[in-house]
Structures are given as C-alpha cells and as structure tokens.
C-alpha cells in the first residue's frame, strides 16, 4: 500500500511538472479582501476578460488581516507578485509617501473621477494626486429595532446623542426576554474595539495625540469615552461581549438579540435582507451618535484598488482598476444582480439613483454618515494625524492592538477605567518613544 502511495505521489508530481501551457497576452494577479463585494467582482471580472482578451486575471482573495500582512510584505520588498492590491484608506497615504504605489490620476474619461464622493477621493489621495481607486466605502451608523422602540414608546432621532443612546439602552434592556439594550464591539484589536473607541473619543471631543504627538488618554474626554463604552456594554450588553466584534454583533442583531447596534454600514444590506436577517422588516437606521460637539461617531473606510510601483504589468493593471472601480462595473452589477448589490459608498451617482434608493432604505443615512466623516480633520482641536477610527502612522497597528487589549480588560473586569487609561497612556508613550529611535 505504501509503495502504491509513493508511486501515485511520484506520478502526480511528474504529471503536473509537465503540465502548464504558455499563456498569450498579459496575466495579472489581483490580491483582494474576501468581502462579498470583492467576491462578486471576482465572479463578474470574466466580463472584463471577455472585453480585454489579452488580459488574464489571477485572483488571491484573503481575509483582511492575512491580506494586509501578505500585501505589505510583497509591496515593501518590491517582489511584484501582485499587480493589483486591495488596500484600505489607512495604508494608501503612507504607502504613497513611501513611493510604493503607482499614481492613478490618469484612469481615463470613462472612469468619471468627479463622480467620486469627495471624502473618499480625499482619503486615497496625497497632495491632490490619486494613488488608489476606491472600490467600496463605509462609515458607521446606528442600527435599531423599530418594533422595540415603538413598544417602549421611544422615537429614535435621525441624529441621536450619546445621552439618548444610554437612556434607550436602559429602557430596552430585557435579557429575560432575550433582548439586550445595545451591542457594541468589545473584542480587542485595532480594527475591532479600537475602531469604535477612537471614533467615539473624537465625538466626545478627545483626540488620540495632541500636536506634539503626545497621547491623550489622560484627558477627561477619554475617561468619558471609556466609561460610556464600558458602561453601555457592561450594563446593557450581551454576556461575553468582550469577545464580540463586527461579525458576532451582526449575527446577534440579525437574530433579534440586540435593540441597538452602532457599527459599520457594511452590516446594513445584510440586516435589510430577509435571507440573511431575522429582523429585516424591523431594522431602522440612524446616524451614529454625537455629544453635540461637532464631531459625530462616524468613521470612514474604503477598500481601494492600487497598483504597486514595482508591478511590471502596470498598464494592464490600471486598465482593470479603471474598469472595476468605474461606472461601467456598477451598471454591470446592477444588470446582473440588481442595484442593491452595487458596491456602495464611493460614487455620488449611486445615491442619486432612484432604483438604488428604493432598494436600500439605508442609502440616505450611509451617504450622510460618509459626508459627516472628516478623516483629514477628525477632532475638534487640531491634530497632527489623519484618520478617525485609526491614526495614519505605521505605529498605529501596534499601538491600537495594545490599547485595544488594555481596554478590553475593563470589560473583562481585570482592570478599572482609570487604571486602563493610565496603562494605555504609558504604553503609547513607550511605543512612540521606540518609534522615534
């Protein structure tokens, strides 16, 4: 038997070594995140190959964190394994300044660059030059259960304040009936609880750093932020919220366990679709809360397609980027899968389209949230960084991960708010000092 196995393995090796016909034209490799919009693009990209027979596409679709590590290694070492990479608004400005990305300011008239939502265009440009093409965009909003609000005699304002959210959570919290007042991200991570906390902090008048790059966790605004966040989760949230991120809260809300949820607009189509949501006919959408200080807890994120400067097939790669992020692709998706499945958050024309607005009851709130987000000017006071839910510096991933872990300790009951803030302050000071060396 072993002998047979060895022979089979050898035969397979030999067969495959001999296989592989030479390919005419250009073959480009696209590295992308595996969200539903991108997976749809992968499927529909066969149309691009039909109209561009000389360009063949290879796809590498990965989970966000794996993709980030993989693409960063490739682009930073100029290995050029990928000709098109999917990166976020966090990476684009840093990588463009490093000279790792090709300029994308000549994508042709069909690309309709002026149709891009200004906040999105700004997020992927450096000194007015576009280095990536936004594929889809998101902000954060408040999801709520209209039926529970009606029953409790509450009315969700279009632009709620944090005080109202706390009161409503208190009133709607009914764990005996399987409903929790509010679901929020508690899971540690720079892309998990720190996305929410940083955005909340900006809405409470705090900032991550002052103009001298000194961390601001020792300010009363940060104390209010962490107290509000931990208080809401501890008193009115589901048990085990310290392990809940976007996905966990999405499934909790979809299975009617949460009265409110403040999170990414990415969840809206899932919750409004009866095939994936048990509350599709009950979910309502409102703006993310604020504290009346001029900054709403709306973050801004875009997954954008970029061409690494080291790519040897840049011309073909740019043709694909222009097609995938241009109006023609939106029309293709609409014709095949309906306007409700067009990648949202990047183009003004989509939100002006009556068919889309009819299918997406969250369209208006999403557009308003994106418009309310100011990544270049995220705080009330001047700050030296860009980004709302993140800080656009290379050290952020380390700082965000560590502070996220510290604050999740408040939920786990292993530390207090004051102790966590002090620890976050010293940890960030230490990391910034290390970065300066």
């Amino acid at each position: 038997m072993i002998k047979r196995m060895l022979l089979t393995a050898l035969a397979v090796s030999a067969m495959t070594a001999c296989s592989g016909a030479p390919d005419d034209g250009v073959s480009i490799t696209v590295a992308t995140v595996n969200n539903s919009d991108m997976m749809r693009l992968k499927t529909l990209s066969r149309e691009f190959e039909k109209t561009h027979p000389k360009i063949h596409l290879n796809w590498v679709a990965l989970e966000e964190n794996v993709l980030r590590q993989r693409v960063t290694t490739d682009v930073a070492t100029r290995a050029a394994q990928f000709d098109v990479v999917t990166i976020g608004s966090y990476e684009v400005p840093m990588w463009a300044r490093q000279g790792w990305l090709a300029k994308l300011d000549q994508l042709g008239p069909d690309y309709a660059a002026n149709d891009l939502i200004p906040a999105m265009r700004q997020a992927i440009s450096v000194d007015g030059i576009q280095y990536a093409a936004p594929f889809n965009g998101e902000s954060s909003i408040t999801y709520y259960r209209q039926d529970l609000f009606r029953k409790a005699g509450l009315v969700m304002p279009a632009e709620p304040k944090w005080d109202f959210i706390v009161q409503a959570a208190r009133k709607l919290h009914a764990p005996a009936h399987g409903t929790y007042g509010i679901c929020l991200r508690g899971k540690a991570g720079w892309g998990e609880n720190m996305s929410l906390l940083n955005t909340m902090a900006h809405s409470f008048g705090a900032s991550f750093f002052d103009m001298n790059w000194r961390p601001q966790f020792d300010t009363p605004q940060w104390k209010t932020t962490v107290e509000t966040w931990s208080g809401l989760i501890r008193d009115f949230g589901p048990p085990g919220a310290v392990a809940n991120g976007f996905n966990e809260n999405l499934s909790l809300f979809a299975s009617a366990k949460c009265a409110m949820w403040i999170d990414s607009t990415v969840g809206a189509p899932v919750l409004a679709d009866p095939r994936s949501s048990g509350v599709a006919d009950k979910v309502g959408f409102a703006a993310a809360p604020d504290a009346g200080l001029g900054r709403r807890a709306s973050w801004l994120w875009t997954w954008a397609l970029a061409v690494p400067a080291a790519s040897r097939k840049a011309a073909a790669a740019q043709q694909f980027v222009a097609w995938a992020t241009g109006p023609a692709y939106a029309k293709l998706v609409a014709s095949r899968e309906g306007w409700g499945n067009v990648p949202p958050g990047t183009r003004i024309s989509l939100y002006a389209n009556p068919e889309y607005r009819k299918l997406a009851p969250y369209a208006e709130v999403t557009l308003a949230a994106i418009a309310a987000a100011h990544p270049a000017d995220p705080a009330i006071r001047p700050v030296p960084y860009t980004g709302i839910q993140y800080v656009s510096i290379p050290e952020w991933q380390g700082i965000g991960s560590e502070t996220g872990r510290i604050f999740s300790g408040v939920l786990a009951g292993t530390t207090t708010v004051d102790a966590a803030l002090a620890e976050a302050q010293s940890a960030t000071l230490r990391q910034m000092a290390k970065a300066r060396k």
């Binding site: 290694t73 499934s251 994936s276």
Partner: protein
C-alpha cells in the same frame, strides 16, 4: 462476573465519550457545512427544523481553484515528504548504527531549530525566494517544507531504527551485503511500520502547513490551506462556507489516514512497550 461486565460497560462508555469529544469539532464542522449562513451562527444552535442545504459546497466549488489547490496540496505534501525521507533515512541510519559521542547533542540541536517561530525568518526567506525566483512555485514550497520537517523526521526515524537489532545488520554485512543492500533490503523492511507512520505524520504536517504556503504562494502553487483562507472573513456571515471549505480540504487527508490507520497506530506505539 457481574462486576466485570459493569466495569466493561463503564470503560466502553468512557471510551465513546472520549472519542466523541475528540471528533466533536470535526462533526460540528460537518453539520455546519450543511446549514444556511444564518443558521450556522444561530445561538443556541439548532439541529431540528433547519433548512439543510448544499449551497455552501456549491458556493465553495463555484469560486474555482479547488481542484488546482487540491492537486498542489497532494504534490507539495507528497514531494516534500519524499524529499525529506530521502535525506532523513541515511542520516537516521548513520546516527542509530554508527553513533558518536556528539550524536545526541546533534539530534537535540536539529530539533531545537523547530523552536524558532517561523515569522522570525519570514523576511530573509521571502527575499531569498524573490531573488531566486521561487515565490509562488511548488519547488520553493517543497524545498522549504522538506527542510523544515527534516529535524522531526530524523528524530522519528532514529527512534525507529534503534529498535532494530544491530546484529541483524551485522549478519547481513557478513553475508556480503553492500551498504545500499543493507539499508534497502534489511533495515527498511524491518522498520516499515515506523517508516509508514513517519511518512504519514510528515505528510500531514506538509498538508496542514499554512504559514509558509500563505506567505510564499499566491496563485500557481497555492495549496488547500491558502484556498481555505479565502472563506474566512472578519465581516459578514461565513461559517457555513468556511465549514464546507474545511470539509473539502480535509477529505483527502482523512481518507489517506483512514486507509493507513493500522500502520499509523503500529508506528506510533512502536517501541512504547518493551
């Protein structure tokens, strides 16, 4: 007598409970792979009234790339194990039958190289592979896995070879056997169960390798571990699809393990009882 029967029943029940506990994750993955996404994440989970579906398998297979990834897995795991065996057998033979005072230290040093976290050498290896043109090639992954698994394999074969009496080899030598004949016609047949279990374990390690395959391959040489990574996502509901991808990815290795379990158990217990 009655007491003996009760004892046996308790032991059998305990054995079943232990087997169920070990197999539970696999069983749960299998069940989840047939649930719609919303049911897959429902809490408390349900087993009745579920709208069972093959949709997850259809989606995973429609994504494309499964056949190529499965083939890559077979080739990479198979070839890297064969290459490692080719190097490890003579090394373990020499260490087992012609030991020096430094043999044990050498074995421990070889094993200690496995203690280095792979991420610590990711960048140098990535750059070497980039310059050597080995990125996203089967040859590159085979080379890395063969060398990476070599210490464990040498150690395992050394242990198995030590169980073979040296006198048998000596007798073969007296009968005029050459070194190659001694190795291929005497030692290897005697150590076959050990060789089979070592082969299967190293093959499984190669099959499951995710860190290097995710970092060094993209499309051409991506095996099933890279294929599976496509279905895990921090946004959206994906447990059903991920479970279907997992089941499809482990099917071949489970089948191989099932057919070879006798050798595997024999090899694992070889030398355990004197």
């Amino acid at each position: 007598m009655k007491r003996g029967a009760a004892h046996r029943i308790v032991l059998t029940a305990l054995a079943w409970a232990a087997a169920l506990a070990v197999a539970f994750p696999l069983l749960w993955t299998f069940i989840t792979s047939f649930k719609p996404e919303l049911e897959a994440v429902a809490f408390p989970p349900r087993l009745t009234g579920v709208d069972w579906t093959l949709e997850n398998y259809r989606t995973v297979l429609d994504e494309g790339g499964y056949a190529r990834s499965a083939l890559n897995s077979v080739v990479i795991a198979g070839a890297s194990t064969l290459a490692a065996m080719a190097l490890a057998i003579p090394a373990a033979w020499a260490m087992a039958f012609a030991p020096t005072p430094r043999t044990r230290g050498l074995l421990l040093w070889m094993l200690s190289t496995k203690m280095l976290p792979p991420v610590g050498v990711l960048m140098p290896i990535y750059l070497i592979y980039r310059d050597a043109g080995l990125l996203d090639t089967r040859a590159g992954v085979i080379l890395l896995l063969a060398l990476g698994n070599l210490p464990v394999l040498v150690w395992m074969l050394y242990t198995h070879f030590r169980e073979v009496p040296g006198e048998v080899l000596e007798a073969a030598r007296l009968d005029g056997a050459s070194v190659v004949q001694e190795l291929t016609q005497v030692l290897l047949p005697l150590a076959l169960p050990g060789l089979a279990s070592a082969f299967l374990l190293i093959f499984t390690l190669g099959w499951n390798e995710a860190f290097w395959t995710l970092n060094l391959t993209s499309t051409e040489a991506a095996p099933l571990t890279a294929f599976m990574a496509t279905f895990s996502s921090p946004q959206g509901l994906f447990f059903g699809r991920l479970s279907a991808a997992s089941i499809l990815s482990i099917l071949p290795i489970v089948a191989i393990g099932w057919f070879c379990q006798r050798q595997l158990v024999r090899g694992l217990t070889f030398g355990a009882v004197k």
